[in-house]
């Protein structure tokens, strides 16, 4: 029944590349962009190669001694030595496992409390000074206390990670639930929506984007929490190997541990990004060099 209009969808289906202004051939602009992205990628690889080469040959050239910055090849050799003799795989697995469990539990706790506070302004007002105090308290300072409570095992370090991961996720979820357009909630109410439906169909999905920014931060914080936990107590994990390496003035082992800890962090971060891509697939794509395809 509505008459035909001059409106066009913001993105036409299978839209060809828009010609750049002044360039009649749209394909050229896109090819150029692709070329420049390929060039950027090549540059990144070159930077990496230069860095690794400098690591290998720089320290001796500059007269830096082996126990300050060991050469790359020695660190690699140490890595394989530790793999065979130092149960490196076992320690790496313990740390990875703790990071994943600590991150998961911290995220879950942050979400649950974030949604509960978000749905009840009263509770938030009552709880906010305590939340603020706990947020300001340096969570890693709890590590010794937790070890005194739970002993030299995997529990205290996971709890440190939980504490430290918890806050950014709580705050993001809480802010997101608070920020939902009241008109949106009124719309649902006009259809006689229950409180549960409002949460499940509006507030929860609306909080997904901020939740994932919180999770990204949490993923990196979890590694910090576990590492500190392993510094303080226990005889397993990469943090323990790191401290042990330090005690023996084995700089190579310290480097190996730092690199592996970083890799664990990168893997955790990438897992979050993958999940985010899937959950937020409805969002406008944000790609490098993708300009103005969306309103």
């Amino acid at each position: 029944m509505p008459s035909d209009t001059t409106e066009t969808p913001a993105t036409a289906p299978s839209q060809p590349a828009k010609p750049a202004q002044g360039a009649p051939d749209g394909g050229v602009g896109q090819t150029l962009r692709r070329l420049s992205m390929a060039r950027e990628f090549h540059l990144s690889v070159i930077v990496l190669i230069v860095f690794l080469a400098f690591w290998e040959w720089g320290p001796p050239l500059l007269g830096i001694r082996e126990f300050i910055i060991p050469r790359l090849s020695n660190v690699v050799t140490e890595f394989f030595f530790m793999l065979e003799n130092g149960r490196l795989l076992h320690h790496t697995w313990i740390t990875t496992y703790s990071v994943l469990v600590g991150f998961f539990l911290g995220a879950l706790l942050g979400m649950v409390i974030g949604y509960l506070l978000g749905m009840s302004p009263m509770t938030e007002i009552v709880a906010s000074p305590y939340i603020l105090a706990l947020q300001i308290a340096p969570k890693v300072a709890f590590a010794p206390l937790l070890i005194m409570w739970f002993g030299y095992n995997i529990t205290p370090k996971i709890l440190v990670a939980v504490l430290i991961v918890f806050f950014p996720i709580l705050i993001n979820v809480l802010t997101a639930v608070r920020g939902v357009d009241p008109a949106m909630i009124n719309l649902a109410r006009s259809f006689n929506a229950s409180r549960w439906q409002i949460f499940w169909k509006i507030e929860f999905p609306a909080s997904m984007a901020p939740l994932f920014s919180g999770l990204r931060i949490g993923a990196t914080l979890a590694v910090i929490g576990i590492t500190v936990g392993e510094f303080v107590g226990g005889n397993t994990g990469l943090g323990y190997l790191l401290i042990e390496g330090e005690g023996q003035a084995n700089t190579k082992a310290v480097f190996v541990a730092i690199i592996l800890l970083t890799l664990i962090g990168i893997i955790a971060y990438c897992l979050v990004i993958l999940m985010e891509r899937w959950v937020l697939r409805y969002m406008p794509k944000r790609k490098f060099g993708d300009v103005g395809n969306h309103p």
């Binding site: 509505p2 969808p9 913001a10 289906p13 357009d181 719309l187 006009s190 259809f191 006689n192 929506a193």
Partner: protein
């Protein structure tokens, strides 16, 4: 006594103060009487902040009056009900739902089964020329199409009374006229009863049977104009009706008078 589709009887709404500095709170509307018959379209205009949207919240059952009563089909409104549906200036489409899922939103909440939802949404998507975009997300559509999807979401509930709060004011002039035309025809052909809140005097006159003018806060109905012109289903031609000009002049002076009274 005639039974009205939508009736406000001596309705006042007072908002209690949020802070101590707010004093007595705010009296948003004061003793409003409006009665709308079946199939009638009534426009409501007035200065901003005069309580037009409060009136709409009362009619949709989202809020209760402090004094007086609101009736739909002779039954007092005591909460959201399925006879009434509203549409706002913002399309309020959920960005994580496809257009089809957005159109089905109300039915989903009301608990209709999936097959029925699908059947109804197909029908209304086709009717509002959105079938090709059913599986698209709102951000992929233009403002006009999004507002049309919002209209489909409203109409798919088959409401008896439509509450329209500046439904077109966020659109560009051309899109606005097209959507006004679509809506006016739908309202006419399906004999829907509607209360249309607008800032746009021409829109009010082109689309309604009566125009009510509200005063500044506390909002009261200060004037009623029965639009004595044919073709309510065709706002484009009604815009050019010779009587519309004088009505606009009258409304403009009325709104100015309301303003001056407030200042005294």
């Amino acid at each position: 006594m005639a039974r009205y589709r939508l009736e406000f009887k001596g309705v006042s709404k007072h908002f209690p103060p949020m802070r101590r500095s707010d004093g007595e709170g705010v009296l948003a509307i004061d003793g409003v009487d409006v009665a709308i018959e079946e199939g009638e379209v009534v426009a409501l205009i007035g200065p901003s902040g005069c309580g037009k949207s409060t009136l709409l919240n009362l009619a949709s059952g989202l809020d209760r009056p402090s004094r007086g009563n609101v009736f739909v089909d002779g039954e007092e409104v005591d909460g959201p009900n399925e006879h009434v549906a509203f549409m706002l200036q913002k399309d309020l489409l959920l960005p994580w739902r496809t257009i089809r899922k957005n159109v089905e939103f109300g039915q989903e909440i009301r608990g209709l089964d999936a097959a029925e939802r699908r059947k109804r949404s197909e029908h209304f998507l086709a009717k509002y020329h959105l079938s090709d975009f059913a599986n698209r997300y709102p951000h992929e559509l233009s403002g006009g199409m999004r507002q049309r999807a919002a209209l489909a979401r409203t109409m798919v509930m088959y409401p008896d009374v439509l509450l329209l709060d500046e439904p077109f004011s966020a659109l560009d002039a051309q899109t606005k006229m097209v959507l006004q035309q679509d809506l006016a025809r739908t309202l006419f052909e399906e004999k829907k009863t509607a209360l249309l809140i607008t800032h746009d005097l021409v829109e009010a006159l082109a689309m309604s049977d009566r125009v009510l003018v509200m005063s500044r806060r506390p909002g009261k109905i200060i004037r009623e104009i029965v639009v004595d012109a044919e073709n309510r289903q065709d706002p484009m031609s009604r815009r050019q009706h010779p009587k519309i000009g004088p009505y606009i002049a009258e409304l403009m002076s009325l709104l100015d008078i309301g303003h001056a009274e407030e200042l005294v």
